[in-house]
Symmetry: C2
Subunit: 356 residues, 2 copies
DNA sequence: TTGAAAGCGCTAACAG
DNA sequence: CTGTTAGCGCTTTCAA
């Protein structure tokens, strides 16, 4: 009752060799008589093949890793559920890590996965390409979800970096081509941020808003870039602010923004945690939504509808993203996979009003 | 660049035996000279010991399993973050499964963990004791978090079952004794539901409410029992309703409750998903909170404050719960651990008003 | 169709 | 202090 039966136990009890048991259990050839007996004994002993033994022998682990910055960000939770939904039917265990948005922790977690021989990974990256290079070099199959790692810190006048940025700005036109894995050659599953942001900005413009701000968090560079592009030059850089990932810092960023630029009339939040912060900060400063300030938030989370007014959001299919990413990582029998870009949808509720 | 270095590679390159490498890397004794050389070579080869090999040898896997019903329930996400926070410094990988509240999936996931030789598990259980018995029998160290598995379906007149229920109702008095693992001898980390519910009900009573309803989900039986006890006999059973776990069913339950009993003036939601449903259903039926109906929700999630009015909640420390549960499961060097009951706190915001 | 045997990478017992 | 060796449970040649 304490010790699990091994393949040897089954073999002995069935009076056959271990190889035969292995074959029967993995659907190999065997005489019906033998097969039946082995199956019966296995069931009787409640035998479960040990993944440890199998994996060691095949020098590959089953299982896929999943790295997200923070599970209490409902969008990441949705994404995680998607990964799980894909992995479970495939019988693949999922090893979870949450990085807190910290590249260092991310590195450590990658190391731990490597140690576990988990060589397939779905990640919402926090670190830059430098953080991720080791994983790739070590032969991991990784798929990025929701966002790509930032390029390595480049000199301001690095022409290569500028070229990459151009590339980024140009991709995503309907029917958006997959974003490049950039320097890393890694497939990804992301939302069509450009279209999403553009639609939101146009909507706000249509409402008469001129001073629109962008409130982002770590990993929202693509969205920020899309925002800058959507508002068009000249971009008022004071209206593009970032928090560092924690709820506190998001709140501070939002609050700072509202206070330093009372002339703004609308804000686009780059993620649900930032949207939350914006609502809180606005309330604290006695700004009414949408009378004093209009708000569009990235991520359609269940509670968006509970706010009052209910939040107008740029919905991205978190669950699908996770599912697709897991699919890519599982399917990749060693060969490159195509990246995928999923559509976003502007869901208009009550948090935007005409400019006044 | 593709194949990882093994202990043998390191041994050869350092001109020592594999055992020495193993010793050095696990802090055993070795001459400074040897140690230094081994360390240098290991670093140079970027050697990482394979957990597969080690685990197989020691016939125990590192790692702990984590089973929750649904990550998009923010409380479960908080709990998961707590588990991760405890496991990471310990270097223990966490294998995640989400059960969708379905005992069958839960069983399957337990089976998969067993197969992975993951023999330590933190779980927010969905199935009953029958579902969990196999895991225990198989020698898993499990710790339940947030709730306990329901007893097996007992005959209505089963005196034993009644006794167990009594026990449940009686425990939890300050300083609450740990809840029994019931039939299963499993430690647990749960909130002091009795105190939490009692405080909420008293608060509502103090506001003049007479017809208070309880809106629960799967696994909220303890809370429902606490509710019945708090309102005192005779309990109007029509005011105690349950959803089945999905957001839809929660909404249906809430909506049905409001429509069938327009005389109720307050509701206690047994979890944040149910609270969400209650807010939505109330709005749909044009019931104002708190004017027409007061609401107290279990779980202090970030968005509770975003509702308007902000929700009065029974806060339970989700993150701590996860952390403590992981601690228990990690510390248990085979011996029984004591269960722990964490305090709840009634956080009064704006969703409750005087009865009128 | 079947069994014997060779490892996968590691640690622990035992010699030297 | 260090090397040799025997497995952990499994799959997979290779013969029979």
């Amino acid at each position: 009752m304490e010790k699990r039966a091994t393949i040897k136990d089954v073999a002995e009890a069935a009076g056959v060799g271990v190889a035969t048991v292995s074959r029967v259990l993995s659907g190999g050839s065997a005489s019906p008589r033998t097969r039946e007996r082995v199956l019966a004994v296995a069931a009787q002993l409640d035998y479960r093949p040990s993944a440890l033994g199998r994996n060691l022998r095949q020098r590959r682990t089953g299982g896929i890793g999943l790295l997200v910055p923070d599970l209490t960000d409902t969008f990441h939770a949705q994404l995680a559920e998607g990964v799980l939904a894909c992995a479970r039917p495939a019988g693949e265990p999922v090893v979870l890590g949450s990085t807190g948005g910290d590249p260092e922790q991310e590195s450590e977690l990658i190391g731990m996965l490597l140690e576990q021989s988990v060589d397939r990974l779905v990640a919402v990256p926090s670190g830059d390409e430098e953080t991720w290079a080791p994983a790739i070099r070590a032969g991991m199959t990784v798929v990025f979800a929701d966002r790509l790692p930032a390029g390595p810190p480049a000199a301001d006048d690095d022409p290569a970096a500028a070229a990459v940025d151009d590339l980024l700005l140009l991709d995503g036109l309907a029917p958006a081509p997959p974003p490049p894995g950039r320097a890393l050659d890694v497939p990804s599953v992301v939302a069509d941020d450009r279209a999403g942001i553009r639609t939101a900005v146009r909507y706000l413009r249509g409402l008469g808003h001129k001073r629109i701000a962008f409130l982002g968090g770590p990993g929202h560079d693509r969205r920020a870039a899309a925002f800058r592009e959507a508002v068009g030059a000249p971009v008022d850089e004071e209206l593009v602010v970032f928090g560092t990932g924690s709820r506190d810092s998001a709140y501070a960023a939002a609050s700072g923004l509202f206070q330093s630029r009372p002339d703004l009339s609308a804000v686009v939040a780059g993620g649900n945690v930032l949207g939350e912060a914006a609502v809180l900060a606005a309330r604290e400063l006695d700004l009414r939504v949408p009378r004093d300030v209009s708000l569009v938030m990235y991520d359609d989370v269940p509670w968006a509808e509970l706010c009052s007014p209910p939040l107008t959001v740029i919905a991205q299919p978190g669950r699908d993203m996770g599912y697709r990413a897991a699919e890519l990582v599982l399917r990749s029998g060693g060969r490159r996979q195509r990246s995928v870009v999923l559509p976003t949808e502007l869901i208009i509720r009550g948090s935007c009003g005409p400019h006044r």
